[in-house]
Symmetry: C2
């Protein structure tokens, strides 16, 4: 008989829930869809994770730490490398975006689902205040501090609104809605994160300089 490893079903529940939550949102998914997709009884998800809401949190938190930490490490590495001279704007933006590109390139299909889930959470007023606050706000604070060093004369408002635009452009990219595929007649692909990434950095860097003034 197929002997299944310990914790395998538990992980499968998380994977299926991740995909379904990313695709249909929290309310668009039932516990039975998750359990059926994972090939387990509906009571098992409850045994491992508690209520549906806790399962949702578990799915979101699973990859959040890695993402936030990788970003932070990259930011710090750039800082020490730059010494006492401020690091370049492109470097700071890259610390924000590169971990997502790396995760995408890892080949793990779970990351693609997680990114869509992240986009869902970022653009939802309900989840944003709960999940983004706990998992990402702290790093974003440091990210914004780095930007303030680059643009010492810029107002807080200018910097925060510019960050907001970056965040929005990123969120729509992560959502992979397929709209750019349709509008471009197939010349661009939502799944082509590299194409999105390579243009996003010079795009938003130019935007920052236009709003926040010269370095």
């Amino acid at each position: 008989m197929n002997k299944s490893k310990k914790g395998e079903k538990r992980e499968r529940i998380l994977d299926v829930a991740e995909e379904l939550f990313a695709l249909h949102g929290y309310d668009g998914v039932t516990m039975r869809q998750v359990s059926t997709g994972a090939g387990v009884d509906v009571a098992l998800a409850n045994y491992h994770f508690g209520k549906k809401l806790d399962l949702f949190y578990a799915v979101f938190n699973r990859r959040a730490d890695y993402l936030a930490n990788t970003r932070k490490e990259l930011l710090i590495a750039n800082q020490s490398e730059a010494g006492d001279t401020p690091q370049s704007l492109e470097q700071v933006i890259e610390a924000f975006l590169l971990p997502l590109k790396l995760a995408q390139e890892s080949g793990d299909p779970g990351w693609k689902n997680y990114m869509a889930l992240l986009a869902y959470v970022m653009t939802s007023a309900t989840w944003n205040s709960v999940l983004m606050k706990d998992n990402f706000d702290k790093f974003v604070g440091e990210f914004i501090d780095a930007l303030k060093l680059i643009f010492p004369k810029a107002s807080d408002q200018d910097i925060h609104w510019c960050y907001h635009y970056v965040s929005g452009a990123l969120a729509l990219t992560l959502a992979q809605t397929g709209r750019i595929d349709r509008l471009s007649g197939g010349k661009c692909l939502s799944s082509d994160f590299d194409a999105a990434y390579d243009r996003m950095i010079p795009f938003v860097a130019a935007g920052f300089r236009a709003i926040c003034g010269e370095e």
Copy 2:
């Protein structure tokens, strides 16, 4: 007794549904929440709009036409005004964004809800292909044509990805998640569409020029 005008309850159902769908998404709203909020029986929504899905479509379509048409009129007005010389990049972007600013300024609280609903639809793979296609894709095609006139040497990919970033920045702004309020310690407000609008135009214009080359 309070004599209610004809079609008043019908409109109230749309208003409440608009607010609830924008706040909680399609699956996060029940017909009973809508009918209770509107102060009518649950069967009335069904009588006026049919199934829940049709109510959702009715809510979305109600303001979509006005928005698409206003954008188009603005784009054409700029074109004829510019004569045979191509209109400026800022003008084209403004044709895309200004109608939303005007709607926001109208004071109608329904518009605020509709914008959050629009953000929800824009960032959802499911709804995007159904609702954006029917209501907005045609105008966006003309919008992109205008951009191609401004950047004749740019590739289709460059222009579409840049539009994608604008679309994302706009969507997150419309969503009004409250995140920028929290991150900025109250210095920026999600509800301050003017602040978002005034910076968004120079921001994305600079981004376009960085990616698509000089006019």
